[in-house]
Symmetry: D2
Subunit: 352 residues, 4 copies
């Protein structure tokens, strides 16, 4: 089969690979029907997590069960399934502690396109299938369900970690796809005022579409001052970092009121340190909490995300600004890397 | 009366002041019997929170109710009481949100020797007395009860914030009086292994006395590596910063396992930023939580701290390395500032 | 002034009373503009909490500050304010523990029309005014703001206590005004499926209006079986009891899956016991949690409820099925007692 | 091999069975070295969970890995291991929700001597071995480690569920082995006052040994009144039910202050209902929370329980009042059923 791989740092392309063997007793092989390209794929290809040789890229995909391990109960070949970007074993100490995204070691639940081949191929392998295969309800099309694999799970987790009091105030720094889903998540979880910090006009438009009550364009105003103004001088109950930059992180700490929560979802890719502004952190005594997340996986969470799609609470498909056949994924990938043509998420369709 | 004041930055001394007026309907005047000097008093005198002119110092004291406001119910003149270092009004929005230490504004519950006269005087004023006067049980002597005002409340809060799982592992960075009480707190809250990071021999001895299972002397070994070794390579569930330094904070983040909690109790007094080591923080996705605290006050918490003293769970009096009459508090203050003669906490006795 | 009182068990009517004195330094007197009658007022008048003689009824009202105690900061005579049904002192041990509705003693935050005169009068007294006066934003009319005093606060608290996972399933037993607001609350807090249990056609219509995804009419089907069917056989994550009956409570326990939460908001007025069905409770080992609530008060929560009204998240005014002048409150009261003419909430207007 | 089985309701005895086959890829076979008899084994044999035919009894055991499934990583034949009484698969929806004791269905994590053969045999089978085999540290003897399988895990979970504030007050109803471990757990988790309710002199003695501050003998005094008296009239913060009786449960609800927590660990074996006293429950509005537990399993928790044994926080071996060879387990079983000779826990030793 043709797989779309990272050949080495800075070089991607198609490569012939065999359909995955097996699987082992607890695994499964899924035939891919639909995938999304994530900005983090382009970071990986650029070397963010070190070199990888001929590793298949991609971690957001849905498909059909092709083969099942002998010990996997509750599924049948032919079942439509989604697989979260993060595939923990759910058996290790960190999983049992309640941190499956940190399976075995820090960030260890992240296996696709990191420690094993990803999903940009006609078939992909799923470890611990009984825990990680999420059946897709009949009413949900693949191109909607695929948003549960990462964008919804990560964006909503950012909101869940933000400890939003009912009717509380939330600022979401950056409105890329994760930030937009964090905006949706903040609305879903009872925020009374959601402030989106963004400057790109098309993303501002989407932020408003997804329920932001106010927009702060940080190129026109100091975002911390503007957030304070919008909250009667006190700052927000919760701030969500959805970018992975020092500026955004720092803005979150400054914009949050004492006793509030900073929820970090952004991948911080540079520098030795991420810096907390000392005074606005209350010199370490301001009761501000800083939390982080990595996309939570597992079929149970996926079933709840699907329910939100089924009952119409959320429709993430406006994020799909472009659609490509798998044979053209190199174009999608390049556009995602360069953020051209107002791209938010490119949907990849696989031949039946 | 003679009060011990900060005249201006860098200068302290006695000064004649009138016994406090009033009080207002909700306040009280307490006659001081016993106090402790805190290192933070010396920081304040050195200018850490800006200039103060002729402000009475001190925030750890017990005494006897001298006068009561007309609206204060449940107390009588002559009652033995302790008053926490932090005296919130318990009525403002932050108090109602559950963050009384941030009363009205960040750190706003800290009033003694900050926004009003402190307790180093024969009489002191207590705002919102019905919430802040804590009756001392008959079985408790003043020189033990006074430890509830700050040392126990802050140190234990650091442990409470640390989200220690039962039988979990905890590292406490620095074994000054707050760190020692954090060590006690970690033991009280079910830690299975408490690692104390310290280099001063007398503090190491106290750490062992108060229940530390292991000592890491950071002058002899890399504390992060040693903590990893002591925890089978995984790091601690919880780390407590009890110093207020970049090194200790950074060590906490590095020594904590994914999904763990860093609980900051130290007052960070320098620099524009406190820095999070990016990689060991899981690039913002490692499920590590950073929390902070400022000594929680209020009579209800004080009653629980007193219970721990009454039933013998804790005896903080080994912290009292020196005792002075109030007329000699200037000596105690200088020793605390310079940390001479192995001083941990100097107890100040007031004339009857 | 004319007050609408409970003369004795079973007898209500108007009575001349003086405008309240004072207030004391921490209190306030409010001139009433708008109120709501609650079913619990009719229970009180019928003797549910024992006899009361000439006690002014009512606990849901908004108005204008008429006089202020000398120690009350941050308000002015003439301010438009709402006062929650529950008016804790926020200073007692239970308040400091985080349970202000249980001020001083069980249910002790409930003072209006219980331990002091209520709000069905042209003027009413507010204790601990600085904590309990909630300024009404200019954009909110009185007849909308008044719903924050009890209906929204109680119904939403029922949903908050229900520990709803994002996208989770919730059943709300009974769709009276509190149940309807619990339905809204469950939607606000991220439920993926809200099932309303009700049989009255007009309440079913309102439940659908307020966002219920499915209706279970317990007169036509066994509600527990139907809820199981609607949830793929597993039961709901969370069940809310909004009636105060054995049947509804029992249904909640039975309809909840293991590890789920039963949130009780109903006032259970009869019998020595409320009974937990033993087997469906997992013989005491099923990880089901039963929580209860009494309308949470305080200006901070009120400000968040007002925000939800301001940003249009909620519009409770469809609950207002009838409107009366204060002089006709006896008619409103009788209709509420007898539940005639499809009454949900009667709004009472006071002369300017 | 000889297994000790329940032949049918009311009849137990030895029976020849083959050493377990396999195991399957994810399972393991353990050679038993040491076990404990639990009162619930005698309930099972008496028919409490219905009939079972020739089912091996027992759920508390440690041993040595005899054979390992092909997919089990991280263990070797010959490793000393403990296996918790509850062996979830950690992959199902309930496990992923955080309720592994409710694996697949209510109480579904309880497999030994319920849905599969138990541990009273020279060899026993372990499902999902990678999650359920808990390596025993070299420093711990088998006869101490075996207490982690149920007694410590259940008793401590009861305390963890009790939401004890630091320095808070706790009442533990009944001081059988689970109640005694709940007493230890309450001490471990920071309770300032632990009140043990018990009447048997030998259990009272053990309660005092394990750290109870006060004993309430319910045959001599009304326990609720006495607990109120011991807590200054307000009741305890937390009450633990460690018996499974209506009287104890009811006492817990009554003895708990508003806003407190009732933690149920007892198995309620009789009647259609367990009854909540309505008035003391605050008519459903008293902010009292009722939680339940079933012994939490998994190797991660076991490792923390072992740490508490290793660092000497707990020594449960005083519970071992009697020791038997496996060939005499019928005697131990009969004594446990009839509670003769002051038996608390009989330790069963298996031939090497």
């Amino acid at each position: 089969m043709d797989a779309f791989v990272m050949r080495r740092i800075g070089e991607v392309g198609f490569m012939e690979k065999p359909v995955p063997d097996g699987p082992e007793p607890t695994g499964a092989i899924v035939r891919t029907t639909c995938a999304l390209v994530c900005t983090s794929d382009t970071h990986t290809a650029a070397g963010a997590i070190g070199d990888r040789v001929n590793l298949t890229l991609g971690h957001e995909a849905v498909g059909v069960v092709h083969r099942l391990g002998s010990a996997v109960r509750g599924y049948q070949v032919g079942d439509r399934v989604a697989v979260n970007a993060i595939t923990p074993d759910f058996h290790c100490a960190n999983c049992q502690r309640g941190y499956p995204s940190q399976c075995q070691e820090m960030l260890g639940g992240w296996k696709f396109a990191n420690t094993k081949d990803g999903v940009f191929a006609p078939y992909f392998h799923v470890n611990d299938a009984e825990a990680n295969l999420a059946p897709i309800p009949d009413s949900l099309p693949d191109d909607k369900a695929v948003y549960a694999c990462d964008m919804m799970s990560t964006g909503f987790a950012a909101a869940e970690n933000a400890a939003i009091p009912i009717g509380g105030t939330v600022a979401v720094f950056a409105q890329g796809p994760v930030g937009l889903m964090a905006t949706v998540g903040a609305r879903l979880l009872g925020a009374g005022l959601v402030i989106a910090v963004e400057s790109a006009p098309d993303r501002i438009e989407l932020a408003e579409h997804f329920g932001a009550d106010a927009i702060v364009d940080f190129t026109r105003t100091d975002p911390v001052e503007e957030i304070r103004r919008l909250t009667g001088g006190v700052g927000v109950d919760s701030a969500i970092e959805a970018l992975g930059s020092q500026n955004a992180f720092e803005g979150c700490v400054k914009a949050t009121r004492p006793g509030g929560t900073i929820s970090n979802a952004g991948y911080h890719g540079e520098g030795e340190y991420v810096r907390i502004p000392r005074l606005e952190w209350g010199v370490g005594m301001g009761d501000k909490t800083i939390r982080t997340t990595l996309c939570p996986g597992g079929k149970e969470r996926m079933s709840r995300l699907f329910r939100l799609l089924e009952t119409g609470r959320v429709d993430p498909t406006p994020l799909t600004t472009h659609t490509f056949d798998f044979s053209d994924i190199d174009t999608a990938f390049a556009m995602m890397r360069d953020k051209t043509d107002g791209i938010i998420k490119p949907l990849i369709r696989f031949p039946a």
